[in-house]
Symmetry: C2
Subunit: 225 residues, 2 copies
């Protein structure tokens, strides 16, 4: 028990170190000897603490190369606790209904508030999704990033992570089969959403996001049930 | 590496066992010898698998009493990955803005769809929150359960867990100080929301939920910034 607590204390110190030093996803932690001295703990305890944070997706341990701040930013693998909810077309529609409540509003905020850098990133990501689709590659990750960038530009600190969670929890299944109509919906509306955000047109951004998700919902209702 | 994979396979087998046997939160797993035989693994591997699931809030390990299905239902400790978002009054308002998008709609669905058992549970939980407030006890958990029961009665499988997550992530801070006006808002509107759901009045349920959260938002804006 005492050992577990020491490891947890060390994990907390590592989190504080990351915050104090403004480390970003992908940044490397100090080497073991340096870090042991900074935190005042032994090698075994340091490793236990790092393992706890890797389990929480806060750190990535790369064998032989050290530990890095994870790109997952501490978002757990099953954030919504869906392990015990049977995944079927009802769950996928339910998830889209949740996204339909949110994402048009989020796109509206993004169009009103996005800065120039954010606009450029959103447009570039719309192009990246398009490139993936045209190359016949999986675009699940690129698509989730597009929606997340919009949510992060909304100015609400919770929307970014939440949109990422809602997009990645079960999105895999929507894109599991090839479907030309779904893909052309995605290309068409991503482009329109990005353009509306570029042009600072909140109502257009909300409307195109709504269309995009409604068409996805219709696709799931007709093709997957 | 091979050992880690074996533990993960065992964790997956335990999840399957829970699903196949329809175990509910609070149910006990078989004893070690029985479970080792069922899953065809050794004691060390079984314990590693159980530890992985405890870290994911799927199981509770009670020292000397065995392992139980967790009441957390696999929802992780920091589902939104807020560890790296500084908690301040802006974050609390952002969270309320997210809840304002959702919960009036969720209350509307609940009023349209709740069954008799669900209605009775929601009303009883409104009374439990009231009892906590009047006794001067913390009502954070009782309040979160009230909102979760409504979300579960909505018929959308995602809303229940999501509402619980949004309610528990930072709700602690809203209730951290004693405030008679905030508490009387909670008593008044919880009662009205519960009654609207009892009476199958979707618009009333949505409207009272909206009022309840708007007043909380006003409270945070004025008292916490």
């Amino acid at each position: 028990m005492a050992k577990a607590t020491l490891a947890e204390d060390t994990a907390q110190s590592i989190i504080q170190y990351i915050l104090d030093n403004h480390l970003k996803p992908g940044d490397k932690l100090p080497t073991e000897p340096v870090f042991m001295e900074k935190l005042g703990v032994g090698r075994g305890t340091l490793r236990e603490g790092i393992k706890l944070l890797a389990a929480r997706n806060i750190l990535d341990i790369r064998q032989g190369a050290g530990s890095y701040v994870s790109h997952q930013r501490g978002i757990p693998d099953d954030p919504l606790g869906l392990t015990f909810i049977e995944e079927d077309s009802k769950l996928i529609v339910d998830m889209l209904d949740v996204r339909l409540l949110f994402e048009p509003h989020v796109a509206r905020l993004a169009a009103a508030r996005a800065g120039e850098d954010e606009k450029a990133e959103i447009m570039a990501q719309a192009e990246e999704v398009e490139r993936c689709i045209e190359a016949g590659e999986s675009y699940v990750a690129a698509d989730a990033r597009f929606h997340r960038l919009i949510a992060e530009a909304s100015g609400n600190k919770v929307f970014g992570n939440l949109t990422y969670i809602l997009n990645t929890s079960i999105a895999q299944n929507i894109a599991i089969t090839k479907d030309a109509q779904r893909d052309s919906n995605t290309i068409r509306y991503h482009r329109k959403i990005a353009q509306a955000i570029m042009d600072k047109q909140p109502d257009d951004a909300a409307s195109y996001m709504n269309m995009h998700l409604q068409l996805l919902r219709e696709f799931v209702r007709e093709k997957m049930s």
